[in-house]
Assembly symmetry: C2
Homo-oligomer: 412 residues x 2
């Protein structure tokens, strides 16, 4: 029998009624001829409650005990899903991470999956079981202790199972019905994509964050697991959702797949720093230590021994960045004339694997923004992405103009 | 190091504050020089919530999935207790049933403990760990699935650990401060017992039900585990609570240890049944099948071929008993002239190992009741117990009179 992996997130199993709805979808895939591995999250809110208990008990908690506590929610859902399937006469049983066993590293609270031996579950499929319900987000360390995989861990569990069992597909059921060309709240012309390449999905992380965890997409790309994102709240159909897949599985596509954005960015400029080897390390070392997530970096042309360095980071990390720079200056690690923070900017990006083979995409983007009178403050590019920082007030205008200019409202 | 087992019930770990209070008691025993094994229940209400989920999902549930779901609550408390102890600088870690491993039969939802290999936990004690926090109520079956031990399972877990680790004592922390000579709500003269014998504790089940699970007392008696019942809400002292122990560990004791009672009893009399071999089986077989918990049984003197049979059962099982008897008559299994139910009776018992060596205890009981004008309807006796059925309106009077007559307000 071909194997299908289906993953249901917290909102999709938030109540017994929703578990029943999810189980019906599973039952339909069994009727379609699949042996199904179902990965479940905890009921919405449960994991946060348990994390709250741990943090209140012990601010600097032992991550091993954190894992033992917060993994409880998924165990409950796995058992309830198995019982619901049994009520529908679908042979099913639950598996906790250690029972599979899903072997991980010992990096508690952020463990990485090492191995998923398929033998135990395959044996049960051979004996007539149709559905293995697996508690997501958890595994077992070499020391025999419970581990968890960190945020979005259930998506990663699902993709890892799909890879280990060579599943035909990995369906991620969530509360949105797919991946869009851009956020539909910004423009009503936003269109759901039928297919998107792994690389594009990774670059669209800022759109996809609510949809798929970055790590799960990386894993799917590495093992070429076909990932489908679809809503657990809409009627099923064969072409529902968005398929995240390898480039070669996409026959026709637009040059640009989507327009992504990040609203709360800040642009920081260190003025009058020495232009010497090692200066970048001297600046960004202390920022990384202070937990500042630096995104774009631009170094200006040197002007007689001193230069300016501009970088962007989330707006709520500006204070931390300023403190780190002041301390580095006080400690004599760096010297600069001034630090200017612009906290009213946002980042807008166009993403598409088609850029590789099409010239002039960046130029078209800059021209579109110029035509709207939008000044570009910083530019960075990658092989399949162009990002710009612009004033925050232009965010909607920029996204709408780019969405129109690249014809994203129409399929390729 | 000597080992101490401490068990905290659901109300003793109902909130993070209460877990902290319990952890302080554990810390004090560590300071006293013990290696401690702590057995925890789920936070009060959690297990009931999970049982509710299971029953709503699947009325005739698969007990293996029931166990996987309802064991989650204890896992949470075990982790939180370990974290709380670590915050107090007490080296501690949590253990789930399968990690110990606590091996049980495959009788899911009512499994019996088969073996607790002490090696894993002893190794950690050797390495400097001072407290092993174990999730109560759960174990692992030979098939590698999670099992639970049924109601009161955490008490049983605690006693089994005390036996397996040859612990000096097993302290059961609960919401009452010990075992009383009778229910303090019936007479203010009720006195907390310092010590009570296993056999007495078993007979006082009706008093002790809220305190100790019968199965845990049986297990303690078999392995001669010293059990102490004490409140987690009162100040600690060395002679707190009640020690349940072997007869030979009790130096002085009253002839009668306590007065027990059961309020909602019914007396049923089958009139005019044949007096023939096998008639008792013909009556009590169908009652057992119907789930009627028959307690006392009295067969009257035969009167020319027919006789009366009287038995008692809980008052809410009378309808079921009547139906079973009517059906047995209709099926020709038994014949009787009439069935009379008296639903206004209660059972009062005196219990004490001293009865074995003291004559006249029953006579003193009957005389005491006669002096109060209380008519006795049925009598049964065992080696260490005398029970009578009397009209329910006399319950308080009978208990108070017997408590006085046997001097239970004063220690031996």
């Amino acid at each position: 029998m071909p194997i299908l992996v289906m993953k249901f997130g917290g909102t999709s199993v938030a109540t017994l009624d929703r578990i029943r709805r999810a189980a019906k979808r599973v039952g339909r895939e069994v009727a379609n001829g699949y042996d199904v591995i179902v990965i479940v999250s905890a009921m919405a809110g449960e994991t946060n409650k348990l994390v709250g208990f741990v943090e209140e008990t012990s601010p600097l908690y032992d991550a091993r005990e954190y894992d033992a506590v917060v993994s409880a929610g998924e165990n409950v859902t796995a058992g309830l899903m198995a019982l619901t399937l049994q009520e529908m006469d679908v042979p099913a049983r639950s598996w906790q991470g250690w029972q599979v066993p899903l072997k991980t590293t010992s990096a508690h609270a952020a463990a990485r999956i090492e191995e998923i031996p398929p033998a135990n579950i395959l044996k049960k499929f051979d004996e007539g079981m149709k559905v293995a319900v697996v508690a997501g987000f958890q595994g077992i360390s070499p020391e025999g202790r419970i581990t968890t995989l960190g945020r979005g861990g259930s998506d990663t569990t699902a993709v890892a199972f799909a890879a280990a069992f060579e599943a035909e597909r990995c369906d991620i059921y969530t509360d949105v019905d797919g991946v869009y060309t851009t956020d539909p709240r910004i423009t009503s012309k936003a269109r759901k994509l039928d297919r998107i390449a792994f690389e594009e999905m990774l670059e669209l992380a800022s759109l996809g964050a609510k949809v798929l965890q970055t790590r799960s997409v990386e894993l799917a790309m590495r093992y070429n697991v076909k990932l489908r994102v679809l809503s657990s709240f809409e009627e099923m159909s064969d072409d529902a959702g968005t398929l995240v897949c390898a480039e070669e599985d996409i026959v026709e596509s637009n040059v640009v797949a989507g327009v992504a954005f990040s609203r709360d960015e800040a642009k920081m400029t260190l003025q009058g720093i020495e232009d010497r080897p090692g200066i970048a390390a001297a600046i960004f070392g202390p920022l990384a230590e202070a937990g500042v997530n630096v995104d774009m970096i631009v170094q200006n042309i040197s002007d007689g021994g001193t230069t300016d360095m501009t970088f962007s980071c989330p707006v709520n990390e500006v204070k931390r960045a300023e403190k780190a720079m002041a301390e580095a200056k006080a400690a004599g690690l760096i010297d600069f004339a001034g630090l200017v923070a612009d906290t009213d900017v946002c980042k807008v990006s166009i993403v598409g694997i088609g850029m590789r083979s099409h010239a002039g995409v960046a130029a078209k983007m800059f021209q579109t923004l110029r035509d709207e009178g939008i000044n570009i403050k910083v530019i960075t590019t990658s092989e399949i992405k162009v990002s710009v920082l612009v004033d925050r007030k232009y965010l909607e205008l920029a996204v709408q103009a780019l969405h129109d200019a690249f014809g994203l409202d129409k399929a390729a």
